[in-house]
């Protein structure tokens, strides 16, 4: 609020300059800015202490051999990063994260788009069907995984019981204890949904496709498939990119289902990156090593977001 800064706020106010021969309006703007900063302060404080500061501290810890308990630790340079990048266990977790994150993004988007297309075809009771299609999305991933854990129990689970009753004794498996299939089973459970929000976004976009375009194409003799391929699909491009990006970013941090269903097992077979960080950081008392893995995860998420955003922009320009 000193005289030297008095002119600046007026300039910053952009095109809203008023005739201000004396310095009173300028001072008023400065006071306005101070009040606005006070409005921002509580949220900024909480956010800085809870998000920014610990994230930066993670970078520091990733360069140490800290165990997470003992106050003393030593700096080990980039040793943790070297260990992570040469660890088979970490690469296995990365591969699982890709399979589960990217795989579920593709499958759930395909299912959601299919469901949205069906809903869009309805002219009767569309609201009712939209509601019941959304209902399964109210069940959290954690709760669904908990129920599945028991349904997949080898001896008393619903799945094996049905298989045995139908006479497929050989098809009854130890679904969550078999190295070969456990990641596939996790993927199935994560994808066992009708899309929820994803479906709603597709439906909203489908309903904004201009009907005269569709009719014009039909009159020109386009088949249903051609209308979808050349009219509807290009109009959905933005929604597809948004949904895929959202699901991929969420996919990098898949944790709940792994924790509940397999706890990373058998052995380390079904670990994901998020689970790996949790396990080494808290379960194995290697907080420094876990922090380094967390920084690697951050870099991956950052790269995904930036690339997806750039891709999205380029598509928007074309559209």
């Amino acid at each position: 609020m000193t005289a030297s800064t008095a002119e600046r706020p007026a300039a910053l106010a952009g095109g809203r300059a008023r005739p201000a021969p004396d310095r009173r309006p300028a001072r008023r703007m400065t006071r306005h800015r101070a009040v606005m900063l006070l409005f921002i302060a509580p949220a900024l404080l909480v956010y800085t202490v809870m998000v920014i500061a610990p994230s930066i501290q993670s970078i520091q810890l990733s360069l140490t051999d800290w165990d997470g308990i003992n106050p003393a630790y030593e700096y080990v340079g980039l040793a943790n990063y070297r260990d992570i990048l040469t660890s088979d266990r970490f690469w296995n977790a990365t591969r699982n994260t890709l399979v589960l994150g990217l795989g579920s993004a593709v499958i759930v988007n395909a299912v959601a788009l299919g469901v949205a297309l069906m809903l869009d075809k309805l002219h009767h009771a569309q609201g009712f069907f939209r509601t019941i299609v959304y209902l399964p999305a109210l069940v959290s991933g954690f709760i669904a995984a908990t129920i599945w854990k028991y349904m997949l129990n080898f001896n008393f689970g619903a799945v094996n019981t049905v298989l045995r009753d139908l006479g497929f004794e050989g098809a009854a498996m130890d679904w969550l204890g078999d190295n070969e299939i456990v990641v596939g089973v996790l993927l199935f459970i994560i994808c066992f949904t009708l899309g929820g929000n994803t479906t709603l976004i597709y439906l909203a976009n489908l309903q904004s496709v201009p009907q005269d375009l569709v009719e014009a194409a039909r009159i020109d003799g386009a088949s249903r498939g051609q209308v979808f391929r050349y009219v509807t699909w290009p109009m959905l491009a933005g929604a597809v990119t948004v949904n895929m990006t959202l699901m991929m970013i969420a996919g990098w941090t898949i944790f709940d289902q792994v924790m509940v269903l397999t706890a990373g097992g058998p052995g380390f077979v079904s670990e994901t990156m998020a689970f790996f960080i949790y396990k080494v950081g808290f379960g194995e008392y290697r907080a420094g090593y876990g922090s380094a893995a967390a920084i690697v995860l951050f870099i991956v998420v950052l790269a995904t977001t930036v690339l997806a955003n750039r891709y999205m922009r380029s598509r928007e320009v074309q559209a």
Binding site: L37, M118, F156, T253, D256
Partner: protein, 289 residues
């Protein structure tokens, strides 16, 4: 984004008769919903059966609708306390979020200039920081200040995590709010804080309802943050309590199914009560997010 039905005039014309194709689509959708809901229906049915019944005949139907499991869940486990903890965490975080986030977003939008842009970007950067990145330092800090394994620590961590999304949602909405109203109020002599809460905040209702619904659901369903910040000295949240019951060697299946069903009930009630806001809010939130 969402368009009202009136935007498609041809809809009304076609409303006259129900085609075979439509009936087929309805049937397919109904079958899909039933299939996807199967685990929940299975858990619901088994919440009325005893452990012996479940393990003897896993696909059997309940013989009655006795609430024994529901009573025993509260009597023999920490579920009741966990339910209360979850309510406190969800409610407390929501109230505090509403107290600080809309105000901050308004401040950012009305601050103007380069500093406003930087503060906005700082908040948005949080969307790209997974919880795992800040988890380990946060646990040790909470330990140092004596907050570890308290509900306060969970609420604080949630606040930081939800702030970014809130700022994004509110800022994009406030951009469309005209300044004239608040300027008129200021000329009238109302203080800025009063102007905000009595004039601006009510105008933000559409985005507030979307924000509250999205956050309420994700706070209620969260598992990871309370898992990390609440140890055995606390009953945990319902998800944490359930995961502890699952971890027991002598896990009681019937109680776990019962607990899972009870965990879903509040979401369904919330959905039933605010269905219209829900679907609109989800579309706004997801597109903007």
């Amino acid at each position: 984004m969402t368009r009202s039905p009136q935007a498609r005039p041809e809809l009304r014309k076609e409303r006259r008769r129900l085609t075979a194709g439509e009936v087929a689509v309805m049937a397919v959708l109904a079958v899909l919903v039933l299939a996807v809901s199967f685990p929940v229906l299975y858990a619901l049915l088994n919440s009325f059966r005893s452990y012996a019944e479940i393990t003897k005949d896993p696909m059997g139907l309940p013989t009655g609708l006795g609430l024994d499991n529901y009573v025993r869940l509260f009597q023999t486990t920490d579920y009741g306390e966990a339910l209360l903890n979850t309510l406190v965490i969800t409610g407390g975080t929501l109230v505090l979020l509403l107290a600080i986030v809309p105000m901050a977003a308004w401040g950012i939008e009305r601050l103007g200039g380069r500093s406003s842009r930087w503060i906005y970007l700082l908040f948005i950067a949080g969307l790209m920081i997974p919880f795992q990145v800040r988890m380990i330092p946060l646990v040790s800090s909470m330990n140092q200040v004596g907050l570890y394994s308290t509900l306060t620590s969970v609420i604080l961590v949630h606040l930081g995590g939800a702030a970014s999304f809130g700022i994004l949602l509110y800022c994009s909405f406030i951009k469309g709010v005209p300044r004239e109203v608040e300027e008129a109020a200021e000329v009238d002599g109302a203080g800025r804080l009063r102007t905000f809460w009595s004039i601006v905040f009510p105008m933000l209702l559409p985005v507030t309802s979307a924000f509250v619904i999205i956050q309420a659901l994700s706070l209620w369903n969260d598992f990871f943050i309370p898992l990390v910040f609440l140890d055995a000295s606390s009953a945990g949240t319902i998800n944490v309590a359930l995961s502890r019951m699952v971890g027991l060697l002598t896990s009681q299946w019937e109680l776990i199914y019962t607990g899972a069903i009870l965990a879903i009930v509040p979401s369904v009630v919330l959905f039933a009560a605010f269905q219209r806001y829900f679907i609109k809010g989800m579309s706004i939130g997801a597109v903007k997010g």
